[in-house]
């Protein structure tokens, strides 16, 4: 006993977690052929504790990443509002020119448009475009918000001269679109136009 190091003495006198289950664990450590014969027992336990802590911290980081699929980290700068404004203008121009492919490319597959005459999917929106004549329009008072780095909300007033079927739908509308970044591409997931009072 007198030849034992301070570490060995401490480890033998008071095991850190006490219980009988730990004795079995310690006895297995002794059998470990990689442990040097004079390796202090507490050091092995400390190493194992550190190893388990590292594993736990690594797993916890994975947890946090899992529960926050779209957080904006400080290093992620929000996209320039101009990008979103330009995309919105592109969608209007594609609609005016009845460019089906261009419009579809800007819309998400799960797109919804909400209007007074109904709630429309992408296919319904494209079908509407075919029967709508947008003779002229102007867009004003653009505002862009980024709830997070992958989501943008754009609001503005749209004044249009247009007919849909036989109906004149000209007027000024409070308008909004929500754009979501998928990979490197922004897609429109939601659009609405509400005629102002």
């Amino acid at each position: 006993m007198s030849e034992m190091s301070e570490h060995q003495k401490a480890a033998t006198a008071s095991p850190p977690f006490g219980g009988p289950e730990f004795r079995g664990w310690k006895s297995e450590i002794r059998k470990d052929s990689t442990t040097p014969p004079d390796w202090p027992k507490k050091s092995v336990m400390e190493k194992q504790l550190i190893l388990s802590c590292v594993a736990f911290i690594a797993a916890s980081s994975m947890c946090l990443a899992q529960t926050s699929p779209s957080p904006s980290t400080p290093t992620e700068l929000p996209a320039d509002a101009t990008t979103i404004t330009d995309l919105e203008k592109s969608a209007w121009q594609a609609y005016k020119n009845k460019q089906t492919r261009s419009l579809r490319k800007l819309l998400s597959k799960s797109y919804y448009g909400v209007y007074a005459d109904g709630i429309k999917t992408m296919d319904m929106e494209v079908a509407d475009m075919a029967k709508t004549d947008l003779h002229g329009y102007s867009l004003a008072d653009f505002k862009v918000e980024f709830p997070n780095a992958n989501v943008a909300i754009i609001t503005y007033k749209a004044t249009q001269q247009a007919t849909s079927g036989q109906q004149d739908i000209s007027g000024t509308y409070n308008s909004e679109s929500v754009w979501v970044k998928k990979g490197e591409k922004w897609l429109n997931v939601f659009h609405t136009e509400i005629k102002t009072k």
Binding site: W25, L51, A59, Y112, V114, I119, K143, E145, V178, V189
Partner: protein, 151 residues
Amino acid sequence: MKTRFVFFWTTLIAATAMCFGQTSPPEPGKPATKEEAIINLEKSVTEAYKNKQADSFKKYLARNYVGVNADGITSVNTEITGIEKTDLLNYSFADMKVVFPKAGVAVITYKTTVQSTAAGQDTSGTYNVASVWAERWGKWALISHAFMKSQ
């Protein structure tokens, strides 16, 4: 060495199990689907509005919330002010649909029929509605709400 490996993997597996537990709904029994969770949030925020529970209502809204209606573009503050002026006597929801264009983003659309007054005017009728919810650090917040009287 073998024992250390066993211990390492046991810890890792236990922690991973905690990860999965974290993403599971907290309530036992039948877990709500993602769609049901968004529908429940939409119903809860509407109920808070109806009951004029401004504090509770505000908790559902993102700081940079944007609303759109025939009167204009609204923010959190204008929505809170609107609660005071509005009496939502009754409402019902129909045709609720939820899509997730991307993980952490939900769009819900539906029709609502309301009996209500705003600033003394009868605003009852059927409205087409859409809300967009975004998840941040495991919590869903309402980022956009649009409603218009259906024709």
